[in-house]
Amino acid sequence: MSTNTASSSSGAAGSADASAPRRNSKRPKYSKFTQQELPACKPILTPKWVISAFLLVSVVFIPIGVASLFASRDVVEIVDRYETECIPPDKRSDKVKYIQTTENTTCSRTLTVPKRMKHPIFVYYQLDNFYQNHRRYVKSRSDAQLKKNSSADDVSSCKPEDMANGKSIVPCGLIAWSLFNDTYSFSRNNQQLNVNKKDISWKSDRENKFGKDVYPTNFQNGTLKGGASLNPLIPLSEQEDLIVWMRTAALPTFRKLYGKIEVDLQANDIIQVILENNYNTYSFNGKKKLVLSTTSWLGGKNDFLGIAYLTVGGLCFVLALTFTVVYLVKPRRLGDPSYLSWNRNPGGR
C-alpha cells in the first residue's frame, strides 16, 4: 500500500503535469562537470613519492634555518634590566612609595659593548607584565580626536580619562594618559652620544592617524597623573614617543623604540647611561629593561625562526630516513585489498 508518496511528488497533486511524462523529457545535459569527469589529479602516496617529498622539505628548510640562525646570531644586543637597580638599596622595601614621592630619580648605568655594533643602533625600552592589550586599556582612545582638531570633544570612548576639570582631554584615554616617561641619555668616554628620536614611529601613523593641527590640551591635568606630559606646542603628528606608545602591544612583554644611535660602537666600549626612572611598574611587579640592538636582514635578535626551520627540516629528514629503511626492510604491495577492514578478519564481523 502506498502510505507515503515521496516528497518529490507532493506538488503533483492536482496539477496537470503528472510526473510520468516529465521524467522522460528531463534528460540531463551532458557536460564534463555533470558527469563528474573533470580532469583531476590526486597523488597516490607511494613510498618513493613520500620519501622524496620529505627529503625535499628537509633540503629546503635546513639551509634556510641555518641562514636565519646565523643572521640572528650576528645581531648584537645589550639588555640591561634596571627597575630594581635604579632604586637606592635603602628604599627598596617600598618601591611604589619611592617612585611616587621622590622628585629626582636619576640613575646611572654602565654598559659594555661586547662586539662591534654597526649603526644604526636601535634603542628600545622593554616592559614586562604590562598589559597594553587589556580590554579596558585598548579601547580607551579616540582616533577621531587624534586625527582632527574639530573632533576634540569626541571623547566618549575614552572613559575614564575623557575629561578633566570639565574640559575634554587631548589626547584622551588611558593609553595616552599612561605614556612611558623614563628618559635615557648615553655617553661614551664622556662624550655625548646623540640619540635620534626622529622617524621612530610608523610613517602612516604620523601622516594619517595623528593630525598636524592637533595639539595636546588639558593633558595630565587631572587629579591623578599617569605618565609623561606632552609639550602643548608640538602637534601630535610630531610627538613620536606618543605615536609609538599608542600602537599598543599585543603581548604583555614588549619593546618599544626609543630612538636610534647613528654611530658605530666598538667592542669593549663603555657606555654611560643616565636615565630618569619615572615610570611606575612597581605596583604590578613589572620589569623595565633598556635594550640596544643592531639589526640584520631578518630584523632583531630572535633565534625562534631559525630553530623552527631546523626542527621541521630535521624532522622531515629523519622521517625520510625512517621510511627509506622501512621501505627497504619490509616493503608492502601497494593497493593490497587484504588490508581492508573486512578482509582482515575473515567471516565478516
Partner: protein, 841 residues
C-alpha cells in the same frame, strides 16, 4: 468516524466538510516570516547561535563586532527561508492551477461550469474523456450502457495500465436526463489514506428508491488525480474533497531520514559544546581571580573599585562569546547545499540512464547520499528487480502431459499445436482458463491488433500465449467476455471476480457460459494454494512433480483449476459474498473467508511455467558489491526452488563445494527451533572457513522465527552474509529490514513493486526500480534507477564520492572553527601563564 454524504443536497454538507480547495502550501504570505522563523529556531543549533548573537548586542561584554555573528546567522536564515519560499511558491502555483480548473457541477439542479475549488461534498460532477479528476468520486453513471468506465491511475500508484470502474448496481439503468436529479445518501468512513479500499454503502432516495443498501467498493470510485480514458463521460458524486481525498491524505511529509554522518555531527557538536562550557568555566574563574588579584594593581587600567552586581559573570560571558566560534555556524547550510549537489549528480549521470526507456536515475531524497557509501546490507526483491519482469510462457503440463520440454518453448511444441488443432477438450479448457481467468482488458488498436492491458505480467503472458494458440480473448464488454477459438466465438458472462491478494495467493472468476448457461469457477494460483483444494479423487502427484521440475529450471509456475457450480450453490454463495462485500470492517478478511467456501473440490487442469529472465549485468553487479563487503539478502514472494535457482544464476550464492546453503524450515514452533539451532551451529563453526554459507527460510518459518526465536535469528542474521527468504509478505520484508537495522547495520532495500514499498520506506535507504510493475516503489523510494546494474555505480561511485566529500567538508568545518578558537585560547593561556608564574601561583 463515519461520514454521511447527501447526494445533490446543496445545503446540508456545506459547513460539515471542507471544500475542494487543494492546498499543499505550508505558509501563507502573512504567516511566512513568523512560521518559518519559528521552524528554523526549533533547531537547537540555531537557538544557540541566536543566544550568542543576542549576547553580542550587549556592548559591555562583547569582545567582537556583533556583525560577526549576526551576518552569517542572517545569511543562513535567508538562504533557508528563500529555499522554503521558492518551494512553497511552486506548490502554490500548481495548487492554483488545479483549483481554478473548471468542471461541470450540478448546482440547484442545473449543470454549470464551476471552478474545481468550489466543489462541495455531495455535488454531482460530470467528467469528460481525458479529464483529470478534481476530487474523489463515487460513480453514478457513465456513457457506457453497462456502466463501465476506464481510468488511468498513474499519478496515484504509478501503474500505467487502464483499470475498469463500474457504477453501483442500483444506479444501473438510470436515465441520462435523470442523473443530475439523483438524491440519496452514501455512508462511508472518514477520510483515510488507503487507496485500495473504500468500504461504503449507498442508499438512494425516492424516486430512485431501492430497498437494499448497496455496497460500494473501490471499484465504484474514481480517485483524485486519475484520468478518465476511453469513456466519453462519467458522472459521480464527490465524497472526499480538497485535502481530505485519498491522495491528499497520502501526501503528508515523510519522516526525514537521518544519515550516519548527521548523527556523528550532532554528537560531535554536543561534545564540543560541553568542551566549550568547560573552557569557559575554567577561563572565567581564572579571569576573575586575575582581575581581583592583579588587575587592581595595574594602575594604568583604572579598574573601578566597585562593579555592578553581575560583575562575576562578565568575564565568563566574554569567554563564551570568544569561544562561540568553536561550533561552526555554517556546517548545516553548507552540508545541505553540497548534498543537493550530490543528488543532482545522480540525476545527471549519463551512465545511469536506462537506454530502453530513457529514464534517468533520480534522487528524490537529497539528504542521504553519503549513506550510500556506508551500506552494509542490501535487501533485494527478486521479480522485476533482479529479473526483467518480462514474462514469457515457456512450458506447461496439461493433464499429466508435459509440453515444451524438448524445445524449451511450448508454443512451438508440435504436440501441443496438434492437440490444439484437434480440439482436445482438456487442452481447450486449459487455454480457456489461461485466457479468461484474469483481470486483463483487451483493447483494439487502430490497426486492428489486440493490445492487452494487464496489471500482472504473468496474466499478460498467459493471455498472449493462449492467443498464439488460437484461443484469442478479444473483447470485454462490461461483464461479457468474448473469445474466439478456430473462428468460432464463445461468450462468457463474468458473474464474480474473486480477486488476487497476497494472502490468498490465488484468484478466481465465476463465469456463465452464454451458450448453455452453465456456471464455472475458474481458478489460478500458486501450487500450495491450489493443489490442496483438489477434489479428493484427483491424483495431484504429477502436478507436484511438474511444479518441482519447472521451479528447478527457475521458472514461475501457476496451477490452473476449474469446477462447475450449480445454480443454487452459486446463488447461496453469492448472497454471502454480497454480505461480506458490504461489510465496513474487516472486509478483506471476510471476503477471503467467503471465497474459500467456493474454492474447493477443484479439478486441477495443469501447470503453466513462465520464464522471467535475469536483467543484464545482475551477476556482475552482485559479485562486485559483495567484493566490496556488502551483504546481500534476497526477499521474494516466489517459491523456494525458483528463488534458489535465480540466486545461483546471479552469483548470489556459490554452488557446492565453495558455497553451502542451509535451510530453515518447519511448520511448528519446535521444528523451526530445531532447524534454526542446527543452522546456527553450522554457521558458528564455518565462520572461520573461507566458505560462502547462506541460509534459506520460507515465510512460514520466518514468521515463527521472528515471533519466538528473535534472538537466535538475530544472531544468525549477524553471522551470515547471504540469505534467501522466500514466500515472504510485504510486512515480513519490512520486519527483516527492521531486524537488521536494530543490529546497527546500514541497510539498503531495493525493489520495484507495490509489495516492496514498506521495505523501501523502512530501510535506511530505499531504492526503487522504475520498472514494469509501475512506479509505486520508485515513488516511495529515496532513489529510483532504471536497472538493477546501476546500483553498482550508485553505491560505489556516487555513494563513495558523497561520503568522502561530506566527511571532508564536515571535518574541515570543525577543524577550521576549532583552530580559530584555539588561537585565542592559546593566546590567553600564554598571557595568563606569565601572570601565574610571576605571581608564584
Amino acid at each position: 468516524m463515519k461520514r454521511y454524504v447527501y447526494i445533490n443536497d446543496d445545503e446540508s454538507s456545506h459547513d460539515l466538510y471542507c471544500d475542494n480547495r487543494i492546498s499543499n502550501r505550508k505558509y501563507t504570505l502573512l504567516n511566512f516570516l513568523p512560521k518559518n522563523l519559528w521552524e528554523q529556531f526549533s533547531r537547537l543549533m540555531n537557538q544557540y547561535f541566536l543566544l550568542i548573537a543576542c549576547l553580542q548586542l550587549w556592548p559591555l561584554i562583547t569582545p567582537v563586532n556583533p556583525a560577526s555573528t549576526w551576518g552569517p546567522l542572517i545569511f543562513i536564515f535567508f538562504v533557508s527561508a528563500t529555499k522554503e519560499a521558492w518551494d512553497d511558491y511552486n506548490r502554490y502555483i500548481s495548487d492554483k492551477k488545479a483549483n481554478e480548473k473548471e468542471v461541470w457541477v450540478v448546482r440547484q439542479g442545473i449543470r454549470k461550469l464551476v471552478r474545481a475549488q468550489n466543489i462541495q461534498v455531495g455535488n454531482i460532477l460530470w467528467i469528460q474523456e481525458n479529464d483529470e479528476l478534481p476530487c474523489d468520486l463515487v460513480l453514478l453513471g457513465t456513457s457506457d450502457p453497462q456502466g463501465v468506465c476506464y481510468i488511468e491511475t498513474a499519478a496515484l500508484d504509478g501503474e500505467t495500465d487502464l483499470k475498469t470502474r463500474i457504477i453501483p448496481p442500483v444506479c444501473m439503468g438510470i436515465d441520462y436526463e435523470l442523473l443530475h436529479k439523483i438524491k440519496g445518501v452514501i455512508e462511508c468512513p472518514g477520510p483515510d489514506r488507503d487507496i485500495r479500499r473504500f468500504d461504503a454503502n449507498l442508499r438512494l432516495f425516492p424516486p430512485f428508491l431501492d430497498n437494499d443498501l448497496c455496497p460500494l467498493t473501490i471499484k465504484n470510485t474514481i480517485l483524485q488525480s486519475c484520468y478518465l480514458r476511453n469513456t466519453e463521460w462519467a458522472c459521480g458524486v464527490a465524497v472526499y474533497t480538497g485535502n481530505e481525498t485519498k491522495l491528499g491524505m497520502c501526501r503528508g511529509i515523510p519522516k526525514p531520514k537521518l544519515t550516519a554522518v548527521d548523527a556523528v555531527i550532532d554528537k560531535l557538536t554536543g561534545a564540543i559544546f560541553v568542551f566549550q562550557i568547560v573552557v569557559v568555566i575554567v577561563l572565567g574563574i581564572a579571569g576573575n581571580v586575575w582581575k581581583d588579584t592583579e588587575a587592581r594593581r595595574q594602575w594604568y587600567v583604572h579598574y573601578p573599585m566597585e562593579g555592578p552586581w553581575f560583575e562575576l559573570l562578565v568575564i565568563p560571558l566574554r569567554f563564551e562569546l570568544l569561544c562561540s566560534i568553536m561550533i561552526p555556524i555554517s556546517i548545516k547550510v553548507s552540508l545541505d547545499l553540497v548534498k543537493s549537489l550530490y543528488a543532482k549528480f545522480i540525476d545527471w549521470d549519463y551512465k545511469m540512464i536506462d537506454q530502453e526507456t530513457g529514464t534517468p536515475s533520480h534522487a528524490a531524497n537529497t539528504a542521504i547520499s553519503e549513506d550510500l557509501g556506508q551500506v552494509e546490507y542490501i535487501l533485494t526483491d527478486k521479480t522485476g528487480t533482479l529479473t526483467e519482469n518480462k514474462m514469457i510462457f515457456r512450458r506447461c503440463c496439461i493433464n499429466g502431459i508435459f509440453y515444451g520440454s524438448e524445445s524449451g518453448d511450448a508454443l512451438k511444441d508440435v504436440e501441443l499445436v496438434d492437440a490444439v488443432s484437434s480440439g482436445s477438450a482438456d487442452v481447450v479448457r486449459f487455454l480457456t482458463v489461461m485466457a479468461i481467468c484474469n483481470t486483463v482488458i483487451p483493447m483494439k488498436s487502430k490497426t486492428g491488433d489486440i493490445l492487452y492491458k494487464a496489471q500482472s505480467q504473468d496474466e499478460d503472458a498467459l493471455v498472449r500465449a493462449a492467443a498464439q494458440l488460437h484461443l484469442v480473448f478479444f473483447n470485454k464488454n462490461a461483464n461479457i467476455l468474448e473469445i474466439t477459438f478456430h473462428a468460432s466465438t464463445i461468450q462468457y458472462e463474468v458473474l464474480e471476480t474473486l480477486e488476487f491478494t497476497s494472502d490468498r495467493k490465488k484468484m478466481s472468476v465465476i463465469v456463465k457460459d452464454c451458450q448453455n448457461g452453465r456456471i464455472h469457477l475458474f481458478s489460478k494460483g500458486a501450487d500450495e494454494a491450489i493443489l490442496p483444494d483438489a477434489y479428493s479423487g484427483q491424483k495431484t502427484r504429477v502436478f507436484v512433480e511438474a511444479v518441482e521440475q519447472y521451479t528447478q529450471l527457475g521458472l514461475r509456475t501457476l496451477c490452473l483449476a476449474c469446477r462447475e457450480l450449480n445454480e443454487d450453490e452459486y446463488r447461496e454463495w453469492s448472497f454471502l459474498f454480497k454480505e461480506a462485500s458490504s461489510n465496513l470492517v474487516d472486509r478483506e478478511w471476510r471476503i477471503a473467508e467467503v471465497c474459500q467456501m467456493l474454492e474447493h473440490d477443484l479439478e486441477i487442469l495443469g501447470v503453466t511455467a513462465i520464464e522471467d529472465r535475469l536483467q543484464d549485468g545482475v551477476p556482475e553487479t552482485i559479485e562486485t558489491l559483495r567484493k566490496a563487503g556488502i551483504n546481500f539478502w534476497m526477499l521474494t514472494g516466489d517459491k523456494q526452488n525458483t528463488a534458489i535457482q535465480i540466486a545461483l544464476s546471479c552469483n548470489f550464492i556459490s554452488p557446492d563445494p565453495k558455497g553451502q546453503l542451509l535451510s530453515i524450515d518447519g511448520k511448528t514452533e519446535a521444528e523451526v527451533h530445531r532447524s534454526l539451532e542446527r543452522v546456527l551451529l553450522t554457521m558458528r563453526i564455518t565462520t572461520t572457513e573461507p566458505k560462502d554459507v547462506a541460509f534459506v527460510i520460507d515465510g512460514w518459518a520466518l514468521e515463527i522465527a521472528l515471533k519466538y526465536y528473535r534472538n537466535a535469528f538475530t544472531e544468525l542474521a549477524i553471522l551470515t552474509r547471504t540469505a534467501i527468504c522466500c514466500r515472504v509478505t510485504p510486512s515480513q520484508k519490512a520486519q527483516l529490514v527492521e531486524l537488521l537495522k536494530s543490529c546497527e547495520y546500514r541497510t539498503l532495500a531495493i525493489g520495484d513493486g507495490g509489495n516492496d514499498v514498506r521495505m523501501i520506506q523502512q530501510a535506511d535507504i530505499g531504492v526503487g526500480i522504475s520498472g514494469r510493475e509501475g512506479l509505486q516503489a520508485a515513488r516511495a523510494a529515496d532513489y529510483s534507477i532504471g536497472k538493477f546494474r546501476f546500483l553498482k555505480r550508485l553505491i560505489l561511485v556516487h555513494g563513495r564520492y558523497s561520503y568522502n566529500r561530506t566527511a571532508f567538508l564536515s571535518q574541515y568545518s570543525f577543524y577550521k572553527s576549532l583552530l580559530l578558537c584555539f588561537i585565542q585560547i592559546l593566546c590567553l593561556w600564554n598571557q595568563s601563564f606569565q601572570f601565574f608564574q610571576l605571581d608564584g601561583l
